[in-house]
Symmetry: C2
Subunit: 261 residues, 2 copies
């Protein structure tokens, strides 16, 4: 199996090197910014820098389109490949319909992880969400994913949207709450490191049990109105944080009220 | 140094055993529910079950009051100890004023961690927040904490309130977002395990860098209105989650708009 890449960002960076480590050759890398393609090709054995979207002479069996979500559609419209070559994008939030009427052997090869070039990660623990327009594509993409990861899932476009929304709650919003928490402490010259062991233990507990809802703690689930009111008035200096405190407190209260009915 | 406990809940459970492991004797344990006191005393070498709040004949140098926040005040009003004995509570959200006019050698001995009886944890990595009414109390409580933990901080009542609010954002609310995320996935028969590697990586990144704000990802920070609107309409089936999505998205957008000015 041979793979070519359109895009040389964080995802392509990790995937291409992981493929080479399991003896899957990377044939070409194209990037709108040629410096990115160069950087990645320098890390690979035989990959060449491609200067256009015409892959009709490529030896690749699979072309992975790994560009930013809003560029995918326009990039795809310019790509040329032989009919038998599989084309797949690596995005969590773009439907497979983006290939409609242009490519028959198309699919999605979505690694559900956050990548940065500087940070190593264990690719074999990254979940891959695979979708194919037909069983040839699905099987080939799943086999490709299994070469580098133990976690390969069939996920269609509708399910991928659900995963994306779930990830926004569990990752993007969680990260933002950590940022707000750090601000709250820093405002009073307190070291955010004091909270880190508690945060780590909270996450470990939430992920090791059947459902995070079973380890909820804090004033909201205790219906400790006195403490909640103290905190809301403490947050008078920052109305945005106060509003978040109020809404999430209400959400916790309603969540457990519903469950106990 | 010898320690007695009023309360035999999760915090007393872990502290008492940690003290004994470093050769600090536990003299007595009192609990409103005698079965809890029995359970804990069975884990300890020489501790006896106490039946009342009169500790005037106790050999303890320090009495730790480790009961639920709303019981602290009424429990303290009933306790009797010799003047030289130090009394401290272990709560994150109750001010030291709760001892006012009754005990001179009073303080706070607050382990900033979430405890359950069933789950072992490394007590030496638990941050202890210490406050004393005078330097004798502060020094003694800090020495006591240092016997079992490397992380001992001077934290006054005002700072403790700040820490508590920060912990609610970083732990209670974070846990709730994980619960909501799991619900979103389960509604569509998706396995929450698919998200776990991403959640773990998100937390690891957020806690290993200078500020979680520097690793924020997702549609809100990208100002990807198209995706945000798609998600909001997807969440039409659950207005409570939709409201949270909207508020946290706005908060992220405003957070980074403010910062870039």
């Amino acid at each position: 199996m041979k793979v070519a890449f359109v895009g040389a960002g964080n995802v392509a960076w990790h995937l291409a090197q992981a493929f080479e480590n399991t003896h899957i050759a990377i044939t070409e890398v194209y990037s709108r910014d040629i410096a990115h393609a160069e950087l990645l090709c320098n890390k690979l054995t035989n990959a060449t820098i491609k200067n256009d979207y015409n892959f009709t002479d490529s030896e690749a069996d699979i072309l992975l389109v790994s560009v930013s979500d809003d560029a995918i559609s326009s990039v795809i419209s310019q790509i040329q490949i032989p009919t038998k070559v599989i084309i797949a994008h690596t995005s969590g939030s773009v439907s497979m319909d983006v290939f409609k009427n242009k490519f028959e052997n198309c699919g999605v090869f979505y690694p559900l992880q956050t990548f940065s070039k500087e940070k190593k990660l264990s690719i074999h623990k990254v979940p891959f969400c695979i979708e194919g327009a037909n069983s040839f594509v699905t099987d080939t993409l799943k086999n490709l994913a299994l070469k580098i990861s133990q976690l390969v899932y069939d996920v269609n476009s509708e399910q991928r949207k659900t995963l994306h929304v779930g990830a926004i709650f569990a990752c993007n919003f969680v990260n933002h709450l950590l940022a707000l928490s750090k601000e709250i402490l820093t405002n009073k010259s307190l070291d955010f490191n004091i909270l880190k062991p508690l945060i780590e233990e909270t996450i470990e507990k939430a992920l090791s049990i059947e459902h995070p809802k079973d380890v909820q703690t804090g004033p909201a689930i205790r219906k400790d109105i006195k403490t909640i009111e103290k905190h809301l008035s403490y947050l008078n200096f920052d109305l945005s944080k106060q509003k978040i405190y109020q809404l999430l407190t209400e959400s916790i209260m309603n969540f457990y009220a519903d469950k106990s009915e």
